[in-house]
Symmetry: C3
Subunit: 348 residues, 3 copies
């Protein structure tokens, strides 16, 4: 399906964010991920687990059920399943065969995220998770905070495309974070196994509208590093450092902002996805400010994604597409994902 | 379609409840039954009839039309059809050929129900209707009352499955009518032509929460007969007699409750159905009480049905299904329906 | 698709009303027409244009974008397109190849309407537009006024059928404009290239309920000319002149009402359309009166159309259809449209 080959939906063997860690509790959290119903919860010892969300008896949603100890008791006929997927109780029969079970999914609490692996369980290698130190999410001087969880009625790749092409900042987000520099300054791309990095070094440029509000009206020019690292298949870690431009005689070189943004995009159905946005910054006040400030920005990205999904419903799955020079990063990201999907379908 | 073979939707040659008798009046009542639009109304002499709900001229819904005498006058161009389906007027032409007509469906007012036959009309034998005396609905000492008509966004068989497996009472209805006895006491099944009977004799058991409220806190143990008779293809008559357990020194053997429940399940579309719930009890006060008391119970069954339909939309039409010993009745019910459907499709 | 042959949706080479002229302004107006997203706007010199509504880069709706001068700047990445469809700016690159473009559609401001041509542009001949003098919309003594724009969740041909068979007036609009004369008086049909005309000369007939209200309770009989001219593929110009019947000794022959109605029906998707209703009358007061008076009438037509579309969703695309003598006009209209569609699909 667009923008992939027919029959390609999503990479299965990869870590996706299933939820923010704080949202997985002793209350069952139901979510469809890669077309599969999943329930997330914490055991009594605090460990988080992910199991299939459908009772195999009559397909009642286990997310509408009860947690009893570490087991889910189906809300329909009381059949219970442990966190290992094993059936632990059938009220109407004394003997419970070992074959009665629900799927379980590898789930790793990693930073502020719960990463799930929907593919072959024995390939779920934690070494494939984004490195927390590398993405500035290891707590070293920066405070990490989950911001928003969004359900988006658009296919996940539209959001990946969005994040892989920051030339949209000046237009979709014109009223807030956008300046035209992202579109006019060429980006440097680096491809590593499973990671695609983009950087723009912007020198002596006009600041985004918000910078003066927060840091002083005397800032006329800034230096910026804008970057986004795509950890395939669905995690983007962004860098947005700013300093007062050297051309400023008084404050030249002063660091204004050091922050990290984290966008996680997780396929739900072929035409919808989950979107998790988080940040790291040096102080709580800065995070509070960004939380309020970025809410409309994320809403704009969600809006664009949903509008494009509606457009695809009108014009069909294979719209002619104009590729620009600025699409290099998005095209490379799509190509890497397509390769991973092709490899999954290839006979072993 | 699930849980039947591909292409099997529903038995056509069988009586289904189309409405409660009281709801068929001189106002046109439109309903889709087994995928066919139907309109129900009473003639001036009080007889109820069922005709096709689509004007054959321009497909306008006859349910949005007017009753003139015993004929429906289409609300669009004024073409009229009598209760025998025959066209009686075409405003723009003097001559009305005999071939202008709409379908009619055999309709029988039987107890408090209107039973319709959507299949071959000459096979519509009233002897195939549930026997009113047998189901305690002949007025012999019991008062019959229609309770609720529900439109359910789930396939009819999910409700049949629900009614054929009362082990769900303890879980889906835990807060009201449920006790674990239905799950733990084995049922006795009897198969007769067109009827499938289930009985549980529960001795010296804790009463459902509601019993003490209604009959006294001194009732610690009761004896119960719980049963459900499935009159195929879509009518279930239930028995729920209770007496104070013989172990009670003061009130032992005292009859607490004699009531009948009637569940009618009628396919609308492949993924939706009509659900009619009624009761018989010995006094009006008891019926009033049950009316209020059972409303959330039926809502829970509707909820479960709709949630499972949503789950099937996610996981597809052929989910793997775990069959338990307690499913004997449901499996037998499905098998009987499948046989009827197969017979309808077999060449004569 | 019903009522046309399988695969036939709509005539492409023909003028359709895209909007009332007054609604095309310097604000972008987005609309789907014949399954294609379109944006309408006026250039700075006042000329109206129609261009494709999808940015070819990432399929963002150009209707959710900004007009900058005479160009649309896509709200997502800032790519701009002129009114000739040519890309005028790509923020991330200096050179813009000539091949970057969006479709444009011939658009003609004609009377109070904007007519669009969605088919082959070189066949868009303004001579094929309805002649304004012929339809009484050239301002010669009559005042033209757009009344309502409706989005209708039903296929366009249901509305065409409605307008080609005025025998529905007496029934669907019984409480307002209807009398039974339209059904009982035969119509005269005239077929010209691209136009299908229907006329009924009704003599000495009871007036529609509204006539007495507006013109006096002493009017017992009237003479009427009722007509509708279908300018294929989607424009209907109606005539509804009335005079007091010659049988009235006092007011006999007095002209009561001279007005024209204009119904434009434009396919949106296979199961939805746009509907534009306008009138011409001799004075503003008459138009005010009709605006209020006809609102429920048009709502009834919309209701019937949407109800029939729902019925088709239940009974499928090939319902058996009863054809009456009064359907001659509708059948001829369908046949002419089918011929045009067949010709478009024929190899050149």
């Amino acid at each position: 399906m667009y923008p992939f080959t027919q029959g390609s939906f999503a990479v299965r063997n990869g870590w996706y964010v299933a939820a923010f860690a704080r949202d997985v509790t002793r209350d069952l959290l139901a979510r469809t991920i890669l077309g599969q119903p999943v329930v997330l919860y914490r055991k009594q010892d605090g460990t988080a687990v992910a199991v299939g969300g459908r009772c195999p008896h009559r397909h009642y949603p286990l997310g509408e059920s009860c947690l009893k100890g570490d087991s889910i008791e189906c809300g329909y006929h009381g059949i219970a399943f442990g966190p290992d997927g094993q059936c632990t109780k059938v009220p109407s029969q004394a003997h419970v065969p070992r074959s009665y079970r629900i799927p379980t999914y590898p789930l790793v609490e990693h930073g502020i995220w719960m990463f799930i692996w929907m593919g072959e369980p024995d390939r779920a290698d934690p070494a494939l998770l984004p490195d927390l130190a590398e993405i500035g999410a290891d707590g070293g001087g920066m405070i990490l905070r989950p911001f928003y969880s969004e359900h988006v009625k658009g296919r996940y790749q539209l959001l990946n495309d969005n994040l892989l092409d920051l030339t949209h900042l000046a237009y979709l987000h014109a009223s807030s974070i956008g300046t035209e520099d992202n579109a006019s300054v060429p980006e440097e791309l680096t491809r590593e196994p499973g990671v695609l990095r983009s950087r723009r070094h912007i020198r002596d440029a006009a600041p985004p509208p918000v910078v003066r509000t927060f840091h002083g009206e005397d800032i006329e020019r800034i230096d910026r590093v804008v970057g986004m690292d795509f950890y395939l298949p669905g995690f983007h870690a962004g860098i947005g450092d700013m300093a007062v431009s050297r051309s400023n005689p008084v404050r030249g070189g002063e660091q204004l902002n050091r922050s990290r943004v984290y966008h996680a995009v997780t396929p739900e159905t072929p035409t919808s996805c989950h979107y998790f946005f988080a940040m790291a910054a040096e102080d709580e006040a800065g995070l509070d400010r960004m939380d309020a400030y970025l809410r409309p920005v994320i809403a704009e990205d969600k809006f664009a994604t949903e509008e494009i999904e509606k457009m695809l419903a009108i014009v069909g799955e294979n719209p002619e597409e104009l590729l620009l020079r600025s699409d290099r990063n998005a095209v490379e990201g799509r190509r890497m994902l397509q390769q991973m999907m092709d490899a999954e379908r290839a006979p072993a």
